[in-house]
Symmetry: C2
Subunit: 289 residues, 2 copies
């Protein structure tokens, strides 16, 4: 298909390269032209604005930093909405506020554009290998059309529900990961405080009800005290801000998520935002009653 | 081997039956003789006290309710210690305080008895099927001798470290399970508050970094609002009390574990102690900011 990609950061470049590899016709827009250089040598065409790009493709995908960036790219003065044409599907792979995703979907729908929110998990490795988990909100028919394109970038593509539902699932994902890291870190801290080697504790627990990907991967990071990312604390902090904003807008209380977010915030505040977010284990291990 | 079993509750009876099935010679002691009735018809011999039982066997196992019960059975007036003889190994499969397990081990060692703390996870189903995860603290040589007996009851038998280390691993297990339940419950609560079906959220998250046994099993319980145990809240409450006591004795702070323990405590206080501990999801879903 004719696909346009907007936002060529680490994740975006890897996804766009997989689109080329899968045989799609790729056009790109990047604020910094040098981000597009390698893709251009591989056959991608560069456009001067999201609107111009959108005009020429069947599917336009954004992968940018935060809610305002997606709003700008989709709805701004030179945004995708100004390149609207019959059949255009817009997909956002960034992690943004679920309520904002719904709003963007409604505005694009009014211009005749189907919008899918499609945030991912799986990180840089998943993006490079094309094995991302993609959580999709929006119309089932639009997803059916876009599925071959998403399949070039991800392994598990799940339609969660209507617009915004993909972002809700991503928020849920970030809650579970953050709080489970805290759980594992407290367990490892207890073992060490008792003079017990945490390595066989991790091993034994992996076989039972305490078993998780977080215990497996982050448990090992905690044991090794090696917090090379992985998923950077400052990005997890941004995502936990989305969780907090969403909970506040809905009037619900998420105590465990709030507590984990405070630890991540503390980690970033002390200058460790580039470490993996599981480095909150250091804060937990240094606490005294 | 000649094995004695003390404490014939739901878990104990299932474990003892597996010992018989594996061809071990079984003797039992139970406070309530009727608990032993079925095992007796299968060939088990009944003794009048832990001391008398211990005198006649190579390995004596306890599986009782709480720390004081284990102390009574092992060290009390008619306890195992008074049946000490060369080569006797005492094993406790109850979940008790790690520091108490170390103390019991030291007192039995002074009487020439090797002690292994060997708490389990896997619940009633695991006990019946002989697939328990067994976390062992104590001398490696004693575990080598006892391993064929433990293998009749469990699938994964891990030596964590010296005396008490098995109980430390079990405490870690209960922290991770409790806090991960809270994580999953908050995620499901957020999805519902957003008007999103939690079932595809669980599905999507299972494939990624948020994936865990808790998300799989308890996530489904939360979606179904079906809290038939499983692992009863009042037992999880007891175990979280052990976590809190241990943390206090060591002077460390486990904020997430404390918060999960409060929720379980609240559940028990409102009369729901017989429900699965994942029923804390109901409390979480009913909270408002």
């Amino acid at each position: 298909m004719k696909v346009g990609y907007i936002g060529l950061g680490i994740m975006g470049r890897a996804c766009a390269a997989n689109l080329l590899r899968a045989g799609h016709t790729l056009s790109v827009y990047a604020r910094r032209p040098e981000s597009a250089a390698e893709l251009v040598t591989q056959g991608a065409r560069v456009y001067a604005s999201p609107a111009e790009l959108a005009r020429e493709v069947e599917i336009v995908i954004s992968n940018v930093s935060d809610t305002p960036d997606v709003e700008e790219v989709m709805l701004g003065e030179h945004g995708v909405i100004h390149g609207a044409h019959p059949g255009l599907i817009a997909i956002d792979m960034s992690t943004i506020k679920p309520l904002a995703a719904r709003d963007i979907a409604a505005k694009l729908a009014a211009a005749g554009v189907d919008f899918l929110d499609a945030p991912v998990s799986g990180g840089e490795i998943g993006a490079i290998n094309g094995t991302l988990t993609i959580m999709v909100g929006g119309k089932a028919a639009a997803l059916d059309t876009a599925r071959p394109v998403l399949e070039a970038m991800g392994k598990t593509i799940t339609r969660i529900g209507d617009s915004g539902a993909g972002q809700v699932a991503k928020a849920c994902n970030q809650i579970v990961v953050a709080v489970t890291i805290e759980a594992v870190a407290e367990a490892m801290a207890l073992a060490r405080a008792c003079g017990v080697d945490p390595a066989p504790v991790r091993e034994a627990l992996l076989g039972g009800f305490a078993g998780s990907r977080v215990l497996d991967v982050h448990g090992q990071r905690i044991i090794d005290d090696n917090y090379a990312p992985g998923f950077k604390a400052r990005l997890h902090q941004k995502d936990m801000g989305i969780v907090a904003d969403t909970a506040a807008a809905l009037g619900i209380r998420l105590d465990a998520a709030s507590h984990a977010a405070e630890l991540i915030q503390q980690l970033v505040a002390q200058g460790d935002g580039e470490l993996d977010s599981s480095a909150i284990a250091r804060l937990i291990a240094s606490r005294r009653a």
